[in-house]
């Protein structure tokens, strides 16, 4: 893996099983230089996602400053998804207690510091609501040139999940998502169009477990827990929403992407949080996002499983 120059990134998420698996992929791939990890309010409240962020980074051996994100969406009330992730936000296997603490800066301060100090532009991978990233853009417009791109999990061109028209991460903070999509920073959007096709099947859980390292065992249990909810609503496997945003940066070849203009509906009776994609060019506006529409599921699963081997290589 050393033939690749590492991609400097900030991980921003609300772990959450699929956030945690996305970060497991990020660390296990060996392809990223993780400069900071920030928590955000989303799947569960900010105290829990911060605690989970510390536990996951401890488990994975991510040695980067960690900061707590904004406690609530920019203007909207807090909305959580405990039905999917359990009360702790990361129910299932026992995890190690945090071996580190948050760094003492807010997420926005930490992101700004990292961007300022980085010699090259940094990629941000938001896998929760866009609150922290929007707050960063509002507070530090001067740092925009230091953001190379934003590879996010959120939205859906064809449909939603939390409402018929809106996906959870965007629905939680549509105003923040609007700020991010209108920022002019290159965006890769991993929405439901692809993430619900990026299924990890029960047989894949076993492939991961069979790797027999301490992380792979926990990932297999996360997948089993995460799959309980999804199986109950008819899924054949566990949808790897957040890992898509990570995978898109290192294995774009497994995806089908289409550039288009994406706008966020912040109003409406049914459509608040809808990501409206201009597939036919009706708006006359230039594309602002690479929207991922499809995935080679088998290749995706293979690469995800492969990344878990990292944790069995010992002395890392």
């Amino acid at each position: 893996m050393s033939e690749f120059k590492k991609i400097p990134v900030i991980l921003d998420g609300d772990p959450g099983h699929d956030d945690a698996i996305g970060w497991t992929l990020a660390q296990g791939s060996g392809r990223f230089d993780i400069l900071a990890v920030t928590s955000c309010s989303g799947n569960v409240g900010i105290e829990k996602t911060t605690y989970n962020t510390l536990r996951v980074c401890t488990l994975l051996g991510i040695d980067a400053p960690i900061a707590e994100g904004c406690p609530h969406p920019l203007t909207a009330d807090v909305m959580n998804a405990p039905s999917v992730h359990g009360e702790s936000g990361l129910d299932g296997p026992a995890l190690p207690e945090p071996a580190m603490e948050v760094c003492g800066l807010t997420a926005v301060e930490l992101m700004a510091k990292v961007l300022r100090e980085s010699p090259e532009p940094v990629t941000i991978i938001p896998t929760g609501p866009e609150t922290n990233v929007a707050a960063l853009l509002l507070a530090h417009p001067e740092l925009k040139p230091k953001i190379k791109q934003i590879s996010l999990m959120g939205g859906g061109i064809a449909y939603g999940n939390w409402t018929p028209a809106a996906e959870f991460n965007i629905l939680v903070d549509p105003e923040a998502a609007k700020i991010v999509f209108e920022s002019g920073i290159p965006i890769i959007m991993a929405g439901l169009d692809v993430t619900e096709k990026a299924l990890i099947m029960p047989e894949d859980f076993e492939r991961i477990r069979a790797l027999g390292n301490p992380v792979s065992d926990i990932v297999a249990k996360w997948l089993e827990f995460f799959y309980i909810f999804h199986k109950s609503i008819g899924y054949e496997g566990a949808p790897m929403h957040d890992p898509c945003a990570v995978m898109a940066l290192i294995h774009p070849e497994v995806f089908t992407m289409k550039p288009m203009h994406v706008e966020i509906e912040t109003q409406g009776e049914y459509c608040r949080g809808c990501t409206v994609g201009d597939q036919l060019g009706l708006s006359g506006k230039a594309p602002n996002a690479q929207v991922i529409l499809d995935v080679d599921r088998k290749a995706f699963a293979d690469r995800l499983v492969e990344s878990m081997k990292f944790y069995g290589e010992g002395a890392k």
Partner: protein
């Protein structure tokens, strides 16, 4: 053969004209009357165009005049596709014996529905203004209609804005009244209608039959074809013929039951037909069959047979 009694509400319109010919010729349907609405072109044109179709087909279907503007939003028209006169700028004569009926569309529709309780199929292929007014003025109407088959909306995408299709966008409030009415709805949106492509070889073949209807068919789609060709489409989508054909030949289509409601308040999604077809979150009520696919060749085959008979 038991024919389905049909009321057609339309905004003639190139593909409306073709849908009218299909309804007239299909053995499975019994067209009782036509009402017209402001939509593709203003009401005065859609009303006279329905009469002109009577002239072309040598028929005497009663034609009623409906709303001259949407319930709440400002009217807008689709001249690029339908031409200034709504029939692709083909001049069809207004028949001398055309009966200019005074009864408003909604009153006439209600009277007709009372004569066919539980049986009348309402096919609505323009903005849903007339239908919404009828349902609002006569709450009983919803129990009298068998089905409302519409051309409008899209489960995915749009053609006026990225989120909205023309007929729904033109009067979203009316559409929401219809979707909330409780009458079973068949929605033929862009998902299926963009598959119902009428191609140059199809209209050439019809023109070569030498009939007035055949020659008119080719002539009236030319303006729309110029537009469709310019955006890379292989033909002209027969949007409005879809619900007509679905009624007569449902076996040619693929449809799924869903909850469908119309966004009337969005800033960029106004007029979007929000369906729960693919979403984890479902609406409480399944109020529509959303038509998603069609066997294009068989569809166009039946359509051509219809026009040949006229």
């Amino acid at each position: 053969m038991n024919k389905y009694p049909v009321w057609l509400d339309c905004d003639v319109g190139v593909d409306d004209a073709i849908a009218i010919m299909a309804l007239h010729a299909l053995e499975e349907t019994d067209l009782l009357a036509i009402s017209t609405v402001s939509g593709n072109v203003p009401l005065s044109s859609t009303f006279s165009n329905a009469h002109r179709m009577n002239g072309l087909m040598k028929t005497n279907y009663p034609v009623y005049k409906g709303a001259d503007r949407p319930l709440i939003v400002q009217p807008q028209y689709a001249y690029t596709f339908h031409g200034k006169n709504g029939l692709g700028d083909v001049e069809l004569p207004l028949p001398e014996d055309a009966k200019m009926l005074d009864t408003p569309a909604w009153d006439a529709l209600y009277d007709c529905a009372k004569q066919h309780p539980g049986e009348l199929r309402l096919i609505a292929i323009g903005p849903l203004t007339n239908v919404a007014i009828a349902l609002t003025k006569y709450p009983e109407l919803k129990t009298l209609l068998h089905t409302i088959l519409i051309m409008g909306g899209a489960a995915v995408g749009g053609n006026v804005t990225p989120a909205a299709e023309f007929n729904i966008y033109a009067d979203p409030d009316a559409a929401q009244i219809v979707f909330k009415s409780g009458v079973p709805i068949v929605m033929c949106g862009l998902d299926v209608t963009m598959q119902a492509m009428f191609r140059p070889e199809d209209w050439d073949e019809l023109a070569q039959t030498g009939t007035e209807a055949g020659k008119f068919t080719k002539a009236c789609v030319q303006k729309a074809w110029a537009f469709c060709k310019s955006i890379g489409l292989p033909g002209v989508a027969m949007h409005d013929a879809c619900p007509v054909m679905y009624l007569a030949h449902p076996e040619l289509f693929r449809a799924e039951e869903a909850g469908v409601y119309v966004e009337t308040r969005g800033s960029i999604t106004r007029g979007k037909t929000v369906t729960d077809l693919y979403s984890d979150k479902q609406f409480e009520t399944k109020n529509a069959m959303v038509v998603l696919g069609v066997d294009r060749d068989k569809f166009i085959g039946v359509l051509k047979d219809c026009i040949r008979k006229i």
